[in-house]
């Protein structure tokens, strides 16, 4: 049994946190995340959610409070974006390195100045090296599902890592879409209690995040990296179990009309749904074009990327973030690096666009595909191309 309701992205996220029966939420408001935590504060004050809500004075404190809560084994949730995300940055490393399964929603927002409250991925990309699991939702249903399954992944005994679910600021957070909510008893069956193997208690004092001298530090880092990499297996397994129970299956990379496609487009987040319409149009015109959607960003799905691009000749990657002075967008750079050893025949063309909520229409997607195809043949002196940016 389940019921379909119309929900903003915000409320889908806060509903997922409620159904996961979180114990502690510490958060600081920032547009466009505010309504997530307002809603959770309402739930706590009205008795609809039996949790401790800690209103803090900054995002640095928010994640620090979550870290403290997680260290005693509480199921912990927070949300942020944009500048607030950056203020959390130091604590990202803390939470990941001491293996605390905090789950966080990020309503992606541009980084200022120039200040822009609208969506791009400049915030999330800064956390790629911190040890967090990072995934991107396509729509509000997915935001709900990824948060709910996210608790099970993060708290899994072989994972024990923090996890962030990215949903596009405004485009998803403020837009009402139909969302299927499961029955609470099914959620309870799916999501076991958080049983962290090393929780603080007055009877069993421990030290987290200790100083390590140079002769121990590197082993610790390598060990963490292997845990993050290996978490992909558990992520896929939990998504499979989630699908079996709730009927919606997720994969690190989703392929859309890729069969026999010479040209592939890669996108993330809600723009992928716009891209699907562009792909449909291209296919109607007889062009052999497909879409691959990158849902899981960390750990990066290397094998899945190789498999999804096996038959392609051209791969067009759209980044909603610039790496100033670097090779273009971070996603394209990563994709090129992942393919470098084995796919010399595959031309990868990087585009940067849709920054700070700039709209990217279906027509522009089609133009981008045409331009990418031309550049794949003729080459370009630019490190990356732009789409929808006046020049």
């Amino acid at each position: 049994m389940s019921n379909m309701v119309a929900l903003q992205g915000h409320f889908a996220v806060s509903e997922a946190a409620r159904m996961a029966d979180v114990d502690v939420v510490a958060a600081y408001p920032i547009t466009p995340q505010t309504q997530i935590i307002e809603r959770i504060a309402e739930m706590v004050s009205s008795g609809g959610l039996n949790a401790v809500y800690i209103p803090v004075e900054s995002e640095h404190s928010a994640l620090s409070a979550c870290s403290g809560a997680a260290s005693v084994g509480a199921r912990t949730f927070t949300a942020t974006c944009g500048q607030g995300f950056l203020l959390m940055h130091e604590v990202f490393y803390w939470v990941a390195s001491v293996r605390q399964p905090v789950v966080m929603a990020v309503t992606n927002r541009a980084i200022g100045p120039p200040n822009g409250i609208w969506c791009d991925y400049s915030d999330a990309m800064t956390a790629r090296d911190t040890g967090w699991i990072q995934m991107f939702a396509l729509n509000n249903q997915e935001a709900f599902d990824l948060i709910l399954s996210g608790f099970r992944i993060a708290e899994h005994q072989e994972v024990l890592l923090p996890l962030m679910v990215n949903l596009d600021g405004f485009t998803l957070s403020h837009v009402i879409e139909p969302v299927v909510l499961p029955e609470q008893e099914d959620v309870d069956r799916f999501l076991p209690k958080n049983c962290h193997p090393a929780v603080l208690h007055p009877d069993s004092p421990m030290t987290y995040g200790t100083v390590l001298m140079p002769d121990l530090y590197a082993e610790n880092k390598k060990a963490l990296d292997v845990v993050v990499r290996d978490s992909k297996t558990i992520i896929c397994k939990v998504w499979e179990q989630y699908g079996d129970r709730f009927g919606r299956y997720y994969k690190p990379i989703e392929c859309y009309r890729t069969e026999g496609a010479d040209i592939l487009v890669m996108s993330m987040g809600s723009l992928s749904e716009t891209a699907k319409v562009a792909i449909d149009r291209k296919r109607e015109k007889g062009q052999s074009v497909g879409l691959i959607v990158l849902r899981l960003w960390r750990p990066f799905p290397f094998e899945e990327l190789l498999s999804a691009t096996k038959e392609a000749k051209v791969l067009i990657v759209l980044d909603r973030c610039i790496s100033h002075g670097g090779p273009g967008g971070p996603v394209c750079a990563e994709v090129k690096s992942a393919l470098f050893d084995t796919r010399h025949d595959l031309k990868v063309v990087g585009f940067v666009g849709a920054l700070s909520g700039r709209n990217l229409s279906v027509d522009q997607f089609e133009d981008m595909i045409d331009k990418g195809e031309t550049i794949a043949t003729n080459g370009s002196e630019e490190a990356y191309q732009t789409v929808g940016i006046r020049e």
Binding site: P197, T207, E219, A223
Partner: protein, 96 residues
Amino acid sequence: MPEDYKPTWQEMKMSCIITHPGADSDAKTGEWRYQRPILDKTLCNKCGLCWLYCPDSSMIPFENGFFEPDLMYCKGCGICAKECPKQAITMEEEKF
């Protein structure tokens, strides 16, 4: 961490959590000291201010009433010598 703890990354304990209290006693953190407190017992009136002020709890009370530094942990900061109302403690440079 005990000094002989040299694990491979596979043997590394989860996030290097120290699961037993008092693990500091495994580490000899006084190694970088360049000067040490020397107590003149003829001047000392056993008031205990050195013990109170020591930021590293390295002044150890003895049954005879005197306080002497535990050189395994004393960093040689000199606060005890500075605070001693009887000037009974002087800092002497370590010879390496």
